[in-house]
Amino acid sequence: MRVVAWVAAFVALAALPFFLGSYHNDVYRKLLLWVALALGYNFLFGICGQVAFSHFAFYGIGAYGVVILLFQVGLPLPIAILLALLICVILALIVAIPATRLEGFYLALVTLALAQLFIVLLNEGGTVTGGAGGIANYRLPPIFGTRVSGPTYTLVIVALLMLTLALLWRLDRSWFGRACRAVRDNPEAAAAMGVDVARTKVIAFTLTSALAGMAGMVYAFVDNTVNPPIFGLENAFLILFMVIVGGAGRHAGAIIGAVLLFLLPFWLSPVVGHHHQLIFGALVVGAILLWPKGLVGIWDRFSR
């Protein structure tokens, strides 16, 4: 029964792009990627309780990583993907291992610094990163001799999203997910139950950072360009707001928050122009003050 639901969800999400025009297809792809990012960040922030601002930077590291390895270094696609993933994992470990041994605040600081440093490195990277202009005019190499593009490439994104959700879903409903929640709620009690608190935090951080990197690799071939402004720090906060507005700690919350905050400017811009930022801000502040459990929290209250 559960398998049927997953397959049905995949088919529905995968069929949709074939009915969309190219503009809506582009919006749809980015929406799916934001949902995947929010799901990963929800696991890190909402379930494991780690306040990190590096999630979007890892998305950028994945995107830039795969593009540089493919077109600057000239590696074949499978090796470029594995190597870019490895880079994400190693960087995540370098950040997480020292940071999680300190109090939670330091993780926020270290990851904020990493996100800033990433942008600086992109701008100053010369021919390797393409500097302020980034890298453009490349195409996804053929996979088994065929060019994957258009709605077919959207299938790749749907697959990434479904795999992300399936993995996080499985983890959340296991001893590992409970250990993450225990670490979030009360680290001392978690340790007394046999949970290795530092290790659990490092694993959660590395895993979700690697997932963000994977999403970034997929993104690299959506616009076929990567440049520093795409990976700006404001996006790190946007993911945080998506998770908070939707409802931290719940997969449904991350999905609803990502869909709502991503689509909001599209709905509001024609009506109120640039003032949509103002409504966006009010919504975030309102959510934090009035609905600490997010939109899924409100849903829970009415469905009870």
Binding site: L171, R181, N186, E188, M193, G194
Partner: protein, 251 residues
């Protein structure tokens, strides 16, 4: 078979203060051992050293034939020593049953994606339900922990500790803050635990609660052991009456 827990010449200093001094005692399998003493006697320090929260400056602690001195708390828990907290520390965002399942953390195999993982989860869930039932929280098992009273929270602490299938449970002042009826309920549960063959170490300053419950009692004052024996022996021990109860008091 030797003693389950062996504490030998353990000393802990905080700056110039010696909180525990050359403390030694043993705990046998299935035994309920009480550690009592007035405030500041070193009970909590002793507790925290055994649980791994503090490292002893000197001395040795052996559990089940293995030295556990200086191990972090999660390593000690993995060897079969579970604890409760004096100030209840539930996992706030979870239901009663899920809290107990966190207690079973060390009972799970590491592989999450094998076929046996689902069976294991079902098995531990069933065991957790039995434990919730055992401590008398069966009707609240799906409730969020913020709905529990303080006394129910203490029962949850016990069920959570039991879920790790411990050989030894450490109780940090289990009767503190409870009504008389609630304390009696806890005492009954603790007796039931000992009957299952699980050793119990109780840190307590309430003699009325402890003496009828413990098989043996260690009395601390100023960080040192001043008496040890059955509750009846300790009750009448002159050093205990003097140090702990004051001259005029009688229990």
């Amino acid at each position: 078979m030797g003693p389950l827990l062996q504490v030998s010449r353990v000393t802990k200093r905080f700056g110039g203060l010696t909180a525990v001094s050359k403390l030694a005692f043993e705990l046998r399998r299935g035994e309920i051992l009480g550690v009592i003493g007035p405030n500041g006697a070193g009970k909590s320090t002793t507790f925290n050293i055994i649980a791994g929260t503090y490292a002893a400056d000197e001395g040795e602690i052996r559990f089940d034939g293995e030295s556990i001195a200086g191990m972090p708390p999660h390593q000690i828990a993995r060897r079969g020593v579970m604890r409760t907290f004096q100030h209840n520390r539930p996992f706030e965002g979870m239901s009663v049953l899920e809290n107990v399942l966190v207690g079973a953390h060390t009972r799970f195999g590491r592989n999450l994606f094998s076929r046996s993982a689902a069976a294991e989860e079902r098995e531990q869930r069933a065991q957790a339900e039995r434990l919730v039932e055992f401590v008398g929280l069966g009707e609240l098992r799906t409730a969020n922990v913020d709905r529990l009273s303080f006394g129910q929270g203490r029962l949850l602490e016990i069920a959570r500790a039991l879920a790790g299938a411990p050989k030894l449970i450490l109780f940090d002042e289990p009767a503190a803050g409870l009504t008389r009826a609630e304390a009696e309920r806890i005492a009954t549960v603790i007796r039931g635990i000992a009957e299952r063959g699980i050793a119990v170490l109780l840190i307590e300053h309430d003699m009325h609660f402890l003496l009828p419950l413990a098989h043996r009692v260690v009395v601390l004052n100023f960080g040192a052991k001043i008496a040890e024996g059955t509750p009846d022996e300790v009750r009448l021990h002159p050093a205990v009456l003097d140090a702990y109860l004051g001259h005029a008091a009688a229990v």
